[in-house]
Every structure is written in structure tokens, then in C-alpha cells.
Symmetry: C2
Subunit: 598 residues, 2 copies
Amino acid sequence: MLLVLIRKMVILVEFKKIIDNKFIFFDGAMGTMLQQAGLPIGDLPESYNILHPEIVYDIHKKYIDAGADIITTNTFGANTLKLKNSSYDVEQIIRNAVSIAKKAACEKLVALDIGPIGQLLEPIGTLSFDESYEVFKEQVTVGAASGADLILIETLSDLYEAKAAILAAKENCNLPVFCTLTFQQNGRTLTGTDPLTMVHVLEGLGVDALGVNCSLGPKEIRPLVDKITNYASVPVMIQPNAGLPRSKNGETVFDLTPEEFSREIRTMAQSGVSIIGGCCGTNPDFIKATKAAFKSLSPVKITPQKLTTACSSTKTIIIGQEPKIIGERINPTGKKKLKAALKENDLDYVLSEAIRQKEAGAHILDVNIGLPELNEKEIMIKVIKEIQGIIDIPLQIDSPNGDVIEAGVRIYNGKPMINSVNGKIESMKTILPIAKKYGACVIGLTLDEKGIPNTAEERVKIAGKIIDTAVSYGIPKENILIDCLVLTASAQQKEVMETLKAIQLVKEKYGVKTVLGVSNVSFGLPQRKLLNRTFLAMALAFGLDAPITDPLLESNMEAFHTFNVLSNHDEGSEKYIATYKNDNQKEISPNIEIHKNL
Amino acid sequence: MLLVLIRKMVILVEFKKIIDNKFIFFDGAMGTMLQQAGLPIGDLPESYNILHPEIVYDIHKKYIDAGADIITTNTFGANTLKLKNSSYDVEQIIRNAVSIAKKAACEKLVALDIGPIGQLLEPIGTLSFDESYEVFKEQVTVGAASGADLILIETLSDLYEAKAAILAAKENCNLPVFCTLTFQQNGRTLTGTDPLTMVHVLEGLGVDALGVNCSLGPKEIRPLVDKITNYASVPVMIQPNAGLPRSKNGETVFDLTPEEFSREIRTMAQSGVSIIGGCCGTNPDFIKATKAAFKSLSPVKITPQKLTTACSSTKTIIIGQEPKIIGERINPTGKKKLKAALKENDLDYVLSEAIRQKEAGAHILDVNIGLPELNEKEIMIKVIKEIQGIIDIPLQIDSPNGDVIEAGVRIYNGKPMINSVNGKIESMKTILPIAKKYGACVIGLTLDEKGIPNTAEERVKIAGKIIDTAVSYGIPKENILIDCLVLTASAQQKEVMETLKAIQLVKEKYGVKTVLGVSNVSFGLPQRKLLNRTFLAMALAFGLDAPITDPLLESNMEAFHTFNVLSNHDEGSEKYIATYKNDNQKEISPNIEIHKNL
Ligand SMILES: [Zn+2]
Ligand SMILES: [Zn+2]
Ligand SMILES: [Zn+2]
């Protein structure tokens, strides 16, 4: 018994190492197996944990005998909302389920199975994020206390729900957390999440493995799996169905044989999948056949791409390729109309600003609603929810207050950016744990207790301090962006070029991406947009990845679009030509002729 | 006798070395000495070379006895135009003058004195540049044949005349050439040349020493001398008058005593003067006193500034501080109106283009008049003369043809730029000797027999080849500018950023200045000025020193002015504010508010 315990501990602690060297096999379907064993259609499968533990045990045992390394508890629907009208409670069901599985698993591992709640979250449904969190928390708490070895969150089709589940798991137990979503044939989950977004959001939340389950057969999930393995840094897990479901005499059936199933799955080993199991329609024969098919294979190492990304639930913005515009207009500083709207709780105005910025070409929106008269935290949550309800681009949560940032980042659906941390010890201590916990990108401002240094070199030094500290908190370097800060040319003209030098140095030295609020440079001077436009072009030329600026100012967008042509990001100048071809005539006056210099 | 010859050869060959280590003393006035010896006022001083050689000899001898290292022949006015109505010819006068001086000099050196022709050159006067050249050529030829040791061109107040004289000297003998101009109390010569311009033009033409003579007393020339020594690379020479001239009983008299004179001159030793003599009102006592006053001093080494400059006769543009705009509009490529004007010999249109560009802020104007139907050389000369007659900014002579370039550079009044040489052996062999001979700046295009390379590195390599070859021709590095060439984004988009990289690399590696025709980048795309503006801002940020562009396009000048604010070249944003403050109101629409990001 001690030996088993030790082995399990080793497995858990060195999980990643083991996965790197060998494939891990999960079990297959539980529901269809229970039906075959007599569970009447329409009855609660989890009731058998109480009524027929021997049947559940028997199914587990068959999977163990087939070669599964991890079996999954019969708790897919064991949440308080689904059990509301049953005669069982969550604790009873889960405790029994884990106990049965452990008995069957012996030295193998037991995964606490957590399926979708079965109700839609806000804003589509009525269940709040916090409520869903509480549902999952109960499951996790009981499962962990009952002795499950890991948490498997699966068959979820809503990324937001997955976030609630993962947070519940991470905050209420120390077990490894695996999470697989279920996708439609269009390559997205029911609520629109694509594989790239799933990977970046789930990894950010700290899952130990991720992937896709149920959904489709092995052949159909192949394109999804290729995308997932292309982006993932953690082990990738698949549990496909035994083919596409088909209706036969009113019953759902799956056509693949264990051999066909295993042959298809085997082809996915090369793309980097390392954790394998089955979903609907599979049985121990499928696991056995698959395990046999994998005998001569070793897992292919995934090369993490280390992309810097911000995501909504349906869209991922990669920072570091073509520059990305972070819209700065949702910020009451100096904006009477927005101030008034926020004070009057008029979120329509805020939403219209969001829509206008997106339409003008913003890729990410900064959200700052700091006004001394307002409850910043409450409004931040409200504004984020509202904006996420109507537009799909990622948000950057901007506040000097750690509690506002955490509240915003927590409620956010996707992988947000945090604006900002800085080199002050207090700031790093407050903000970096939040960025780590929620897997958010965090912007580091190159200032510290002594203020903003004049020289590029000193700003680079602060950037280094922030990056080192962030990494020591476990934040991957690609989630750290640096804002080298620009001072006003009217007050500190000599220091303007230091910002550009700092951008270049920070990128060279640390390989991180950079953001910069460009508008500040022109404060106090006439015709600010002329200065901003030129400064933007210069900063982009120096490698600025994401300007924080006003996309409604045509001059800014002109600098952006033209830079993309000149830097070969807008290949074939297609976007540029589409945007500007019609302005051609009016712009060239007859006496200013086009001429070539060469 | 052999010994004397050898010593003179050593002095001539190692002239610079000697000057570095000791002061060289010239003599003082000849004219006033002759009058004291009986020359009637109004008579030709040079007639005494024939009529009273013993008197001339005696004056020379007194200067030698006073300590002069070099005495000056009595040939100040010995040119064919001044002698026209006399009974003497140039050859007779100069041959005798040199012969007398050599007898008196013994082992000391004899400078052939060449003064101003006495007639104004075109466009102020009627004497053509070529005619003035012929006048000087005769003097030089006879003087050298008679055995003068060096040529002293002095008391000239027209830089253009000095250029003719220096070219005549350099092309018709191998003797060292010294040239001193005479300045007014406003710090300029009669035709408006300032010390900086004088230094850069005369050094370019290859003088061995330069400076100021006559004009004023030692105290009054002090500010001029400080400027000259600040910019000069060759030894600096002064021959002031014995104070400011004063009229006394109808005679011009000078008030300084030899002691006062020498005391004033002594203070100029520290500023870098190394060749000293006297002009009007001085006599052997002045030379003796000055030599005595310098006994304990050593010449101060001049640190050459190695500035990259282009000059008209009255204005020097320093390239490498704030960026300089080279106006590109005088180029018929793609310009119907200019083409027509050139064909119809309508120079008014060309001149109006020159004026408009200057008024719009161009610092230098490119002049390209290449049309297959025209005699390019003839028109180039005409256009240069006309433009130089009405505006004072330097020109860049632009032609693919070496003979057109040489004709233009020769006739040009000042220090022009040559556009261009390239890495082809044929081009370098043709263009570089012209740049060397006339002291022009030359633009090296980074292309060679194989065309324009795609990568920055290969362009930098060609730049290196051009620079090395130019230096081997004796062209100072600061007179070489590199144009890294930009290809069109429409055809070779990937290569656009290579140009910017190349600019940075060329500057880092070779320390030379860069020019770039920016407009080419947008050829074939809509709204070219948007692209040009952004590309200009980017190129300036990468260190471009002088864009070749259209200053009439507001968008270009906006990029330029804003860059100067952001790069701290426009200190205190003064020019920017002066240019744009009045546009403030119309530019900021009420619903686009100013906001700070920080
Ligand atoms: Zn399934
Ligand atoms: Zn004089
Ligand atoms: Zn004189």
C-alpha cells in the first residue's frame, strides 16, 4: 500500500517528465458502458455509484485490464444543479465514485470527472460566473477529500465555464488539473472558442494537460489536434468518440471498430498528442487496441511557440507579428463625456466607444474606468462583462489598484492583459501574483521608486528587474510586455529618443514584446496628432509591438497602415490598397506630380 | 647653391610638418614701402620691377633681414586686365619680380603674389568665370616658370574669383597654393562669404593654407580668425593691416605701432594661426617685432572638425546635425511642366521651382536636367548659374554623365554635392576624381555591376567599397555620403526595411552621413504621400541625415518638423510651434479630445 502511494506521488510530482517519455492512457466511455450494463436510458448514470457500485467497479476494472493508466470517476454530471431533482447529493455521489474507482485502480490513477454544469453562463444564459464557480468548487472539494489523484474537466463547450471549473480546482485542491473541451465540426466550441484561444486561456490558468474530447471521431478531430499541438506547451490530451454519432433505431451509435479507432489515433501521435483515451461509443477494447497500436511509438516533443497573446473567448491576438493597436479611448482622464457617462452609469456610451474603436481597427481595448467618485471595482466588472457581451476583441484591464485588476481579470472571459505593473517592489508584489494565477499578460512600466529614469539604459534595467521578478513568480516570459514610457517633448525633449532606444534594447536583451502609450509625447504642444503620427511611425520602426493609442484618429491609423506596408507585414499591400485606393484621386493635386527619384 | 635648393625642396615637400612645429613668417606691405621709396601715387607699383629693381630688392631684403621665411613678389596687380593700358606685359613684370625676389630671398622662399583681377565676375559683373581663369592661368604659368616657390592668392573678396585662381594655380603648376580672402567688419567678404564657407570651399579646392589678409587690423580680424581656426584642417594664415585705416591729410594711414601689432597677433597664436605676415601699413619693423613676440611660442595644433558640408558662396549647410532636406523637384522625370520648360529654354519655371523649394524649407536643391533631347552640359551650366544668381542654398549636381557633372561642379560657386557615384568601377573612375579635384561632396549609391543588392549587409559592403576607393583618391571621408537606396514597396516589399537597416549599419560602421530619395518607396501604390511621410519618419529615426524629397508636400515637411521636435533637434520645439501653432484650432475637432495616457 505504501508502495502504491509512493508511486502515485512520483507520478504526480514528475508528471510532465513521465509524459515526455511515454504515452498516458485514459479509459473510454462510462455512460454507454453503464447502459449496456442495464442503466435505463434517462436514468442518472451517477446513481449506479450508490445502487450498483459493482457494475461501476467492473467497468473501471475492464479499463484497467485493457491498459488504462488513469480511470475516470463516474461523476460526469455530479453537480448540485444536475442533482437538484434527484435523491442524491454531490458529496454522496462523488465520495462513492472515487472510492469505487480507487478500488479498481489499485496502483493506477483516478481522475475526478467533472462535466459541464448543464446550464449556460451569462451573458448567453442566466448562471453567473461566481455561481458556476461554486458548483465546481463543491465537486472538487469532495473529490479531492475522497482521494482522487487528479481533476479531469471535460466535454465543456464554454471556455468561460472551463475557467470557472479550473479556478475552482486550482483554488480548492492541489491535484493536477486536466481540461478538455468539445468542438463542433466548424472547428469551434459551441460558444465559439477556437483551438488557439483554448490553448492560451487554459494554459494561462495553469492546467497540466489540455485537449479535446467527445465532439467527433478521431479522423474529424485531426485538424483541431494539429492546431492544439502547434500552440500548446503542456501535454495534449484527446478522447475522441468512436466515430461520428449516427442515429439507428432511435439509438445513437458509433461506427468505428477498435482497430479503426486505434489506427486513426496512432497517426496523431506524430503531431504531439501524449495522453489518449476514448469518449462516447468507446469501450475497453478500444483502449486495448489503441495501447497496442502505440506500443512501438514514443511521444513527440512539443516545441512550445511561446507566443505573446491576448484572448477574448473567441479571438486570440498574437502580439509580435504585425503591430497591434491597443485602443486607449475607454479612459476617463481628460474626457468629459466619458466621465459623465460613467457617473450616470450610462454604459451605452462606453459600449459605443468600444465598438467604434474596434471598427476603426483596434485589436485590443484598454479599459480604465478610474474615477475617484466611483466604485471602480464594481464598474470595472460591469464594463468588462458588457463589452465582452458585444465585441470579441481582447481587453486590457487598466487600473492602479490590485483589487480592481484581480476582480477584472477573474471575471474576464479569455486571457486579458493587465495594465500595469512597474518596478516598485510593492507593485510587483501586488500585481505579479494576479498575472501568474490567471495567466494574463502583464505590462511592465519602466519606472520604480525613483520615478522614470532619463536614460534608455536605466529603463532597460528596470525592465530586467520586472522580467526577472515575474519569471520568479512563474510567469512565462512571453506573458510579460514592457512599456518603456515616453515623456512629453514639451517638458523633457531630450528624453524622447531614449524611449525608442529603450524599446530596441529591451527587445534585443530580453526578447519580450513592447507596448507604448504614444499620445503622451505631444502633450502641451500644438497639433498633437502630427507629432503623435510621426512618433508612432518612429516607434514602430524601432520595434514597438503594440501602440496604445486612439484608433479613431485617422493620422494614427495612417501611420499604422503605411508602416505595415513598409515593414512587409501587410503583404502585397492588400489591406493598404483596400483602405486607401479610393482616396487616390482627391489626394493628388494636379500640380504635385508623382515622380521617381531613381 | 645646391644646398639652398635642397633646403627649399624639403620645405616644400614637408611643408605641413614644418608648419606643425614652427610658425612661418611672411613679409609685410610692398605698396606702401614703394611709395615711401619714391613711387608716385597713381603709378603702377609693378613698374618698379622694371624701372627700379634695386628698390624692390631692397624692400625684400629688409623683410628677409627682419626674419621673413617667405617673401612675396611685387606682382599684386600683374594681370593682363590691369596691365592692359600700361607699357608692360604680364610675363615681363612677373619674370622680373620673381627674379628680384629670389635674389633677395637666397635660401628663403618666394611666393608669387596674385591679387584680385580688379573686375567683378558674373553675375554681379561681366567677367566670366572662364575668362578670370585665363587671367590667373597666365600669372601662374609665368610665375612658376620663373621659379616662384609657392602661389599666394590674396586680398580677394570674391570666393568665386578665388576658385578660378586656385583652379588656375592647381592646373598649371605643382607649387603649394595659399589663399587669403579679405573680409569686412560684418564678418563677410564683399560678396558675402563667411569664414565657415570660405574654409570648406577653399579646402575642397586643395589649398595648402588659407586665411584672411588686409581687411582690418589684428584686433578686428580676431573673431574671423577664431571661426576660421575652428573649422580649418589646413594651416591658417593671417596678414592683417597695421590697424584700421584712417584718412589723414588725404592720405590713408594706419595707427598701430609694430609693438601693438605684434602684441595683438600674439594672442591669435593660441587659436591655431601658424602663418603670419602683414598687409597695408606694415613694414619690416612689424615683422621683426612679431617674430620676436612669437619666440617662446609653438603653434597650437588645429583639431579638424571633419564636418560634412555643402556650400553656396554665402551659406554652408552642415549635414549630420538636424536633418537637411534636399529638394528633388528640379528633375524632369515624370514632370511634364518642367520638361516643357526646359525644352523651351524657359528658365523662369526652373527658377520658380528653386525658390518655392527654398521657401518651403529645402536646405539643398538637387539639380537634374537630363532630357535626351537637350544638351545637358550646356543647360546644366546655365541652370546652375541662374539658380546661384538668385538663391543662396547649396546645390546638388545630379547627372549620370561625368562630363556634365564636371562642367557643373567647375562652374559652381561654392562646394556642391555630386549625385552620384556608385559601386561600379567605371562610375568610381569617372566621378571620384571630379569630387576630389573640386572638393565636392559625393553621394555613393549602394549598387554595382550586379545591381542593387537585396540585403542591408550587401549594400553596406558596396558602401564600404565606394568609401575605400574614394579615400584612396584622397577624398576626405566626410565628403562622402551614402544613399542606401530604397526599392518600391509595390515590387520589392521585403527589401524596404533593408534600406533602413543599411542606413544604420553604414553610419555605425563607416561614420559617414546618409542621404536617401524617399519618394521611390511608394511608387505604384495609392496615396503615395501617406507612405512617403511614414517612411520618411522611419528613415529619420534610423539616422537618415538628408532625405531627398519634395519640400512642397506638406506631409513631408510635417514628418520633418515633428521628427526634429521628437529628436531634440528643434530645441524647445520653437520652430515647430512657430510653424503649427496657428493650425491648432482647426485640427482638433470637438469630439476628439486630448488625453494623456500616463
Ligand atoms: Zn463523449
Ligand atoms: Zn592690405
Ligand atoms: Zn597687401
